[in-house]
């Protein structure tokens, strides 16, 4: 029998990894990968809490996880399109050089 907190620890570790990637990387694609890691960590928590709840007859946990997956797909498509568009205009996707709006 696997305790619930083992899943939560794995999810917490993945979230911390994604957080570091989103905060510290310079490449916009690497930042996007960090965000994907964080979304996956949240999904693990949703499914784990669904599985260990007494009322798993209602499938809300899995429904929410599926919605997060669909949203992540939309986010990745738009994000990568933005990155390619920026690369075409500026010839870089280093987020530190994209400072046109910096005051």
């Amino acid at each position: 029998m696997i305790p619930l907190n083992w899943y939560l620890m794995v999810a917490g570790f993945l979230f911390a990894c994604g957080l570091y990637g989103a905060l510290a990387r310079r490449n916009a694609i690497a930042i996007l990968m960090g965000v994907e890691l964080m979304l996956n960590a949240a999904n693990i928590n949703l499914v784990a809490f669904w599985r260990y709840s007494d009322t798993f007859a209602d499938m809300s946990g899995q429904v929410f996880a599926l919605m997060v997956i669909a949203l992540a797909a939309a986010e990745a498509a738009v994000g990568l399109a933005l990155i390619i568009s920026v690369y075409r205009k500026r010839k870089t996707i280093n987020v530190e050089e994209l400072d046109a709006l910096a005051g």
């Binding site: 029998m1 696997i2 305790p3 619930l4 907190n5 083992w6 939560l8 794995v10 917490g12 570790f13 993945l14 979230f15 911390a16 990894c17 957080l19 570091y20 990637g21 905060l23 510290a24 990387r25 310079r26 490449n27 694609i29 996007l32 990968m33 960090g34 994907e36 890691l37 996956n40 999904n43 499914v47 599985r51 260990y52 007494d54 798993f56 007859a57 209602d58 499938m59 899995q62 429904v63 996880a65 599926l66 919605m67 997956i69 669909a70 797909a73 939309a74 498509a77 738009v78 990568l80 399109a81 990155i83 390619i84 568009s85 690369y87 010839k91 870089t92 996707i93 280093n94 987020v95």
Partner: protein, 171 residues
């Protein structure tokens, strides 16, 4: 864990999958080579699908492999290949605040660990009905309780698709 009982087969399988997921998740953010990051991301997504199977959410595991590994990882690989001209070798992969970000991430993980260990979670999984019934119940939820969210999600995907084509179009 207070005392260490003899691990069961399920626990050993969980430990293997969790270790695989965690190590490849670390490579995603720690390796300086963007292409290695993308490959490790694929491994991490497979590991998460494995965790879903251990949680008896088979439909979700299949969706994870189809959507994440099949679509998102491919998209990311394409984007890397379309934009990789000067990002190799010349500059550091991390920005100036990476030290602070690392400390913050470690502290965040420590706080999460403290919370998770401090709460007495339920540890008994109830017996699930057959996976076929689970999937039927999932489908019913989507077309009854969550039908509005489901339709809005479909609209959002359409808008995102059109928007992505508009943004990436070469004009």
């Amino acid at each position: 864990m207070p005392e260490l009982p003899i691990p069961s087969v399920g626990q050993l399988v969980f430990a293997a999958v969790a270790l695989f997921t965690a190590i490849s998740g670390l490579i995603v953010v720690a390796s300086p080579n963007l292409f290695h990051n993308a490959l490790a991301l694929v491994a991490t997504l497979f590991g998460v699908a494995g965790l879903y199977i251990l949680l008896e959410a088979e439909f979700l595991a299949v969706s994870q492999v189809l959507v994440y590994v099949g679509a998102i990882a491919t998209l990311i690989t394409f984007a890397i290949m379309l934009t990789r001209s000067m990002m190799y070798g010349r500059t550091s992969p991390v920005n100036r605040q990476w030290g602070k970000a690392a400390i913050f991430a470690v502290l965040f993980f420590a706080v999460l660990l403290g919370f998770v260990q401090g709460i007495p979670w339920v540890s008994n999984m109830a017996e699930l009905p057959s996976s076929q019934e689970t999937i039927v119940a999932l489908g019913m939820e989507f077309v009854t309780t969550y039908v509005v969210a489901f339709e809005v999600l479909g609209l959002l995907l359409l808008v995102a698709l059109v928007g992505a084509v508009m943004l990436a179009r070469d004009n």
